[in-house]
Symmetry: C2
Subunit: 328 residues, 2 copies
């Protein structure tokens, strides 16, 4: 199969979502119907083999699809990475450092491969698969273990000079605030990620101010997941609710700053925390935006939850490779 | 002169800088040589007639140039304004509200007119008239009485959905910080503009902690201008220096956030404060960027002072109308 002949009539493409803990590949036909799906943990029990597992997950999805001719592979991967060369700069969770993922896959499957940051790809998937596609400028914020961001301006992912624009989680929102995993202080991620919330809630549990949490998770912050937080709030643990509201408000403050800078038409909120506590997050993010964005810029801006769930990255990755094929 | 016939070979253009206190118009030939210049206060002694004065300043510049045939007029004006329609939404300093400036000028001079935010135009002028033109992504920050920002991505001014993107001065940098002129709290402008600095320095003077300032300005913050601040620092008033360094550091923090979000190749600092205390500002902004931008994104980013002085807005405005003429 010659790469130069496939673009006019692409047949099927593969979208791949490489996460720190899970991988997923989906084969799509021209109408974006799923022909085959495969999911896997990203590393084996010894913590290795993430390179091999990317091939396995793609091969399994292809097999389920009946091994169709494919025209390209789109990948969403944790960063930092270089979207122009498809090299993963450094992903400690996968043990990759300067790993030429796009080249490796392109040589094996003999098709074009695009690689982009998973949050960029997720924002792009949400944009092009929903009515958001009518908006030219969209910002995605995905609070989870960390906080990722994706920026679409004029219908294109913003990569910037370094290729890694959109580090929304590392905007400083509280000068001299708590330490962040990146080594800086007061980043949005340090005050509003699941870990930042869990840390405060674990302290509540230690002080016996959150009995349900204490009973279910003890004081181990790793156990305090989105679903447990949502349940504690439903059960009326007011201090837990206060902690989550404060974090969501900080995300609203960051969203307000992004509106002041970029003037998007829509801000999309995704990830496990938002899925588990959608109403609370939307309330507080709207409050933060109202307090921190200029009225003229926030007017008519949609603040909304992501509509696609687990598929958003594979779908965005598939769209990106199709778009690439069409420009070839 | 028919508008449709002038684009292929434009002859001369007019760049206009409309400020809250001063206006300036320059007639440029095809090689961007100045053929005529005029400057004026923006309002008469009764505080009115800013519309009439725009015509006067353009007519005087044209007269000095020998009344050449002109192909277009580019204008930089305080915002908010709609760059697509050329309507000034609201500029209290000039008494303009929903004023269709582009239409008014286009009908009078029978040429195309572009209108954009003065800070956008200044950033654009700095970008296209210096070696920055080799950079695709540039951010301009102009601290003065307020703090303006301009964002160039892929060689184009970012306007966003509202037309008013780039409100760098109204990013929240200190949650629950001091009140800003916009009504919000803790905006960059509220902690790092000339007024924010002058307020702190006036308090130092009131406590007799800044004898030179007290002698020269009393405790009236309106008297505490950039040049006076620079002189006080030269004379060794350490607390004044501390106040200015803190403000400049906040600008560096905001620049760091902009680098995390946009990943520009260069950040340009302009305006009276930076001109008067360039070394201090560059030191503190670099320190703020180092503390707040991710290492991967700040690598190889130029932080530098604006190279053009008073002409930057008229020149940027002239470039913008020429660019518009070339796309017609």
């Amino acid at each position: 199969m010659a790469v130069e002949n496939i673009t006019a009539s692409w047949e099927a493409v593969v979208g791949v979502d490489i996460g720190g803990t899970k991988m997923m590949a989906v084969v799509y036909d021209r109408n974006f119907n799923k022909l085959g799906v495969s999911r896997k943990r990203s590393r084996d029990k010894k913590g290795g083999d993430s390179e091999g597992r990317v091939f396995t997950v793609i091969n399994e999805a292809l097999q389920e699809a009946g091994n169709p001719v494919i025209s390209g592979i789109g990948v969403g991967s944790p960063g930092p990475l270089d979207p122009h060369t498809g090299v993963i700069i450094d992903t400690p969770n996968l043990g990759w450092k300067n790993y030429p993922l796009a080249d490796v896959l392109a040589r094996s499957y003999k098709v074009p491969v695009t690689v982009d940051n998973d949050v960029n790809v997720g924002t792009y998937g949400e944009w092009c698969s929903t009515d958001l596609v009518h908006c030219r400028h969209v910002v995605g914020i995905f609070p989870g273990t960390g906080i990722g961001g994706g920026i679409i301006l004029n219908g294109k992912i913003l990569h910037g000079f370094s290729g890694a624009a959109g580090e929304v989680g590392h905007m400083t929102v509280v000068p001299d605030g708590p330490y962040c995993g990146c080594g800086k202080r007061g980043c949005l991620e340090a005050v509003a990620s699941r870990i930042a919330i869990a840390k405060e809630v674990a302290a509540l549990a230690a002080r016996e101010d959150a009995p349900f949490i204490l009973e279910r998770c003890g004081t181990d912050l790793s156990e305090i997941r989105s679903g447990i937080l949502a349940r504690a709030i439903e059960l009326g643990e007011k201090k837990v609710e206060g902690v989550v509201r404060q974090a969501a408000y900080y995300i609203g403050m960051a969203a307000g700053n992004l509106i002041n800078i970029l003037s998007p038409e829509a801000v999309v909120l995704g990830g496990g925390l938002v899925e588990a506590m959608e109403t609370l997050f939307l309330e507080e993010v709207n409050r933060g935006v109202k307090d921190h964005a200029m009225p003229y810029l926030r007017r008519n801006v949609q603040i909304r939850p992501a509509r696609l769930g687990d598929d958003v990255v594979v779908l965005g990755a598939a769209w990106l490779i199709v778009e690439y094929l069409q420009t070839m």
